[in-house]
Amino acid sequence: MANHPHNRNRLCSADVRLSKYNPLPRILYFDDFDEGLNGWCELVGNHTGDLDQIRPIAKDFRPPQLSSCTYFDIGTHGSVDGTYSLKLATRPQRNHLAVAIKRMTYAARGLVQFETYVTFKSELVPDGEPSAEWDESSRWDGNVAPSERQFGEFTFSNDICVGETGPRCHGVVRYRNADPNGKLVQTWLYPTSVEPTTKMDRLGLVPSDSRPDFFAVSPEDWREVPGGRQPLCFNETASKVNWHYVRWLFDLESLRTIEFQCNDLCMDMRDLAVPMHDEEYRGLPNLLNLYVAVRTHVNVRNFLYLDSALVSVDW
């Protein structure tokens, strides 16, 4: 794999399921979704037992699914090696966000690497009408899928808390496929503000109900990762599934992303500051959470699929 800084693990080369990955010396977990959800679950906002306490923006992130990638035109597509993948599905509502999380703690402040094979789709319905005003299906050229422009974005985030009271931060990388007007953006982004928390909301540090972006204070708080434009393989029809390799290397010591790689594009992000929370957080020593998310910009369900996920460390 291009630009990979680590020697290949010989054991991984001997295992067909692992040989498509490039782990650091110790595999913390390997989640093959043919074997179940492996601890990936719905993220939910904080509460004390009363669901009405949950921030509206964090109340409906949807339960993850084990998907066979089954479509009305071809039936079951399947995953990279097997039948099932982890699927996140939004509601068919503009700006709706689905988020799945896996929760761990770290044993040392070293490197953590998340790898996965991912694909993304917008929902294609029989006799459906991609009815937004920017639809170009009337001049469909037989090549480019109109539904590609109905897919908004997917996001990878971690949640790190050092020691008893912090510092706390969220490293975040987002692939914006299209904007709400259906214009293809196809660019990797990073946030310039923190990912607002329930505590920030209750302290009045951020607006609550009207905030449209869970991962940043303002939807304007995103910048292009240098060299981050990368068209991905949506393919020509929404039921044709192509998987993409993703590798995210994060340093728990510097609290920076070192590299983010998708297929043959490897972005050096070590000079990009990760926004740090000013507040003190308790109850989260050595927090090491990872989450994946998908958001639709239009009234069409958007789906994110992970064939499998592997997290490895150098400690």
């Binding site: 109340k59 339960p63 699914q65 998907s67 066979s68 089954t70 039948t83 599905a89």
Partner: protein, 111 residues
Amino acid sequence: MLRRSFTAVLEKGATFSGEFSTEPYEAGWAHEARWFVRVLRSDERVGLQMVPQISPDGTEWCDEGSGSIRLQGAGLASMPIVNFGSWLRLRGTTTGRTGSVTVLIYLALKE
């Protein structure tokens, strides 16, 4: 290996009035399923009826055909489903007087 199971919360304190349906949920890996519907609160004399639906593709739906779930006021009811293919959802409607119900809806799946 132990047989796998998974419980999905399809609605979490959502409020409905009139006709509605839950989001499609893929369950092709499961051998059996059971819906749990809990009404947290409802307007006076407003009931809830929910019918399981199945689909081959997650987009076109028909009633599963074995029955329905009915609730009047706060409470919990459930209904099993087998031989359902790959996709499940509930079609629901409020009954009785015009008003709303607030619900938790669970889908419990087992291999």
